[in-house]
Each structure stands twice: as C-alpha cells, then as structure tokens.
Amino acid sequence: MTRRDVPPHGLPPPGSSAPGNDELDQDAELSDEERALSEELDALAAALPRDTALPAFDDEALHRRAMARMLAHENLTELEPEPPADELERQAAAALASRLHEDEWVAALRHAHAPTALRELGHAALLRGTLAAWRPARTRLWAGAVSGLAAAAALLLWVTFDGPPAQPTAADTGSWSVSRSTEPLVTGPLAVVGTSQRLDRIADARQHDYRDNRFRRWSGR
C-alpha cells in the first residue's frame, strides 16, 4: 500500500468516501490532545515520500491508539511483544531468505564481510579454469618446443663432455710441475739444517708448484 492509498490521518479508512458529517462530528469529539496528535500525524504523512508504504488500519480508533503509542514511546522495546508470525509472514520470510541466498551480490557482500576458506577441489577447479584461459594452445606449443630443445642440448652436452679440458696425461706433462727429488731444495749453498726446516722448504716449494698446476688447469693451457 502506498501513500496514495493511505488517507491522511484523521481521514476515514480505505473504502470510504470523502469525509462526511459523521467524521466532522468525530473530530469535534476529539480532545485537544488528540487533535494536536492528529495534526502532527498529518504533517508527518505530508513529509513522507510519495511511495512510502504506511500501515492501514480498518479500525480508526485502533489506528489512532497505535500511532499515539508509537509517537509517545521512543523506545519501541517497551511496546508489547509482537504476536507470533502467521503463515503468510513465514512464507514471505522464507522467500526473502531464499532470494538473499541466491543473489550473487548478497553472496559477494557476505564473502567480503566474512570470507571462508576455499575448498580444495573448488580451488583446483578455479586454477585450472584460469590457467587454461591464460595459456592458449599456442603458448603450450612454444613451451613444449623450447623444453624439447633444452633437453636435446643437455643430452648433446652430456654426450660430448669428457671432463676437464686440461687434464694432464702421462705423455703430456711437459708444461706441468711434476714430482721430482727435493735434494736441490735442501743441499747446495742454501742448504738447511734440521728435518723440520727441510720439510718447511719442501712444502713451500711444492705449494708453488701445486698452485701453478691449478692455474694451468683452470686456464686450459
């Protein structure tokens, strides 16, 4: 019911015609307090938007009392408890709940307010769908081709790689520092006395040789 259907406060209930003498008589019977309340309700009805639904009462006296109580009590909890919902109200509530449950905007708002964990299968399905849409068949073809080439190159390297390039052999030790007697280090004009001192000199000298060999090997000479 819209405001157009609802008569201003003080007018007769729906179905009745324009105010007659009876109603004028009723207004005349109103107390000052009730008249003031009636005027206040008329002003309120005039201020409401045109399409605002207002309750309609068949009983004018009931209507007045209800409005008086609503305006008199700011705290509605003090009103009498509502009676149990009837069958029509329950059906309307169920229909509304069903629509709210199915509506995607309501679902989006609910998930935004209190998100829940994704189910694993649902998550996998979402990922599959997203990836399938993101990688078209052509991309997969290129990826396969590049991977195949990489595998072929790795296999080729594996077949042709025979270890370090500068590994010395028995026939090719001319450029390498090789094992030899340590006598030149411990005899002659620079001879040292004492076994430990001889070992110091031997170890130092061979350390130079060893380092040189490593550099030769690393440089591939």
Binding site: L155, D172, D200, R214, R217
Partner: protein
C-alpha cells in the same frame, strides 16, 4: 605436456646414470704435483713441528712416537717427495733412538730409511751418515763392555757407512755446484 614430462624425466635419469668424471685434480700417475701429495707434505710438516715441540720440552719418546705415526700413515704412491720425506723422517727417528741410547732401534730406523731411497743422493747419504754414527756408538759401548772383537766389527761398519756417506754427499755437492739435478 605429459609426454614432455616423461622425456625430461628420462633425461634426468640418464644423466644420473652417467659416471661422474674423475677428480678434477691433476692426478698422480703422470707424476704431476697434486692435492694428495700436498696433503701429505702438509701433514708431514705439521708432524715434524709437533716433534720439535716435544723435543723442546725434553720428551724424546713423544717426539719419536709422532714421527713413527707419520711413517705408519698411508702415503700417496709414485712421488719422489714422499719417499724422501719418509727417508728423512726415519733418519730423524734414528737420531732420536741414538740420543736415547737405543742403538738397535736406531739401526732399524736407518735401514728402513735406506729402503725408501735406494738411489744415491742427499737423503741416502744422510741415512748412511746416521747409521755410521750408530755403529760408532755401538763400537764404543762394546769396547766399554770388554767385547773388543764385536767393538772392532762395529767400528769397521761405521767406517764403511761414513765413507759411503761422504762419497755420496760429495757427489751431491758437485751436482749442486754444476747446477745439475739428480
């Protein structure tokens, strides 16, 4: 994509089955100075200096035990350096035995060292020198005990060993002066 995954997996399997390349260090058979040789030289140097520290505090037996430990350690084969270090170590052990009066142990150490360096050179000459000193000490001990014949035999062995040492070391010195290496 599944066949490609199988292909890549097969490649990894094949690569894993390929024998790893040999150690990338220059290896011994060719006589190239390599890591095992350097490790042995480092160990020998450390052990000799530990023996020095033991000797410095007068603990000759501890010094000798450290040297015996070095000689008993497995050494990389095929290197002249290893044989010479072992010979020099045995010569030092013989000297320690001589200082402690264990002439038989000194002779055994010198004999073991001479096996390590059969070629004539400084180390063999040094071992002959030590062995000569041991025989000289033995001769004196036997003579003091009144065993004159045995003392004379030991004296003769000492002369032979010391003369051989002198001959070998003279050759070493001449080679050094001439700039030739053995």
């Amino acid at each position: 994509m599944r066949p490609l995954c199988w292909l890549l997996g097969l490649g990894v399997l094949v690569a894993a089955c390929k024998p790893a390349p040999a150690c990338d260090e220059p290896q011994g058979p060719a006589g190239v100075i390599d890591e095992p040789l350097m490790a042995y030289l480092s160990m020998a140097r450390s052990q000799h200096h530990r023996a020095d520290l033991a000797e410095a505090r007068g603990d000759v037996s501890a010094a000798r035990a450290l040297l015996e430990q070095l000689v008993a350690t497995a050494a990389p084969a095929g290197f002249a350096e290893v044989a010479e270090v072992r010979a020099d170590t045995l010569a030092r052990m013989a000297q320690l035995d001589l200082r402690s009066g264990d002439l038989d142990a000194a002779s055994r150490s010198a004999a073991r060292g001479l096996v390590e360096v059969p070629q004539e050179g400084y180390y063999r000459g040094h071992l002959l020198e030590i062995d000569g000193l041991v025989e000289e000490a033995r001769s004196k001990r036997l003579e003091a005990d009144g065993r004159l014949a045995e003392a004379e035999a030991a004296r003769q062995r000492a002369i032979v060993q010391l003369e051989a040492a002198v001959r070998i070391q003279q050759a070493v010195i001449e080679r050094a002066i001439q700039g030739t290496t053995p």
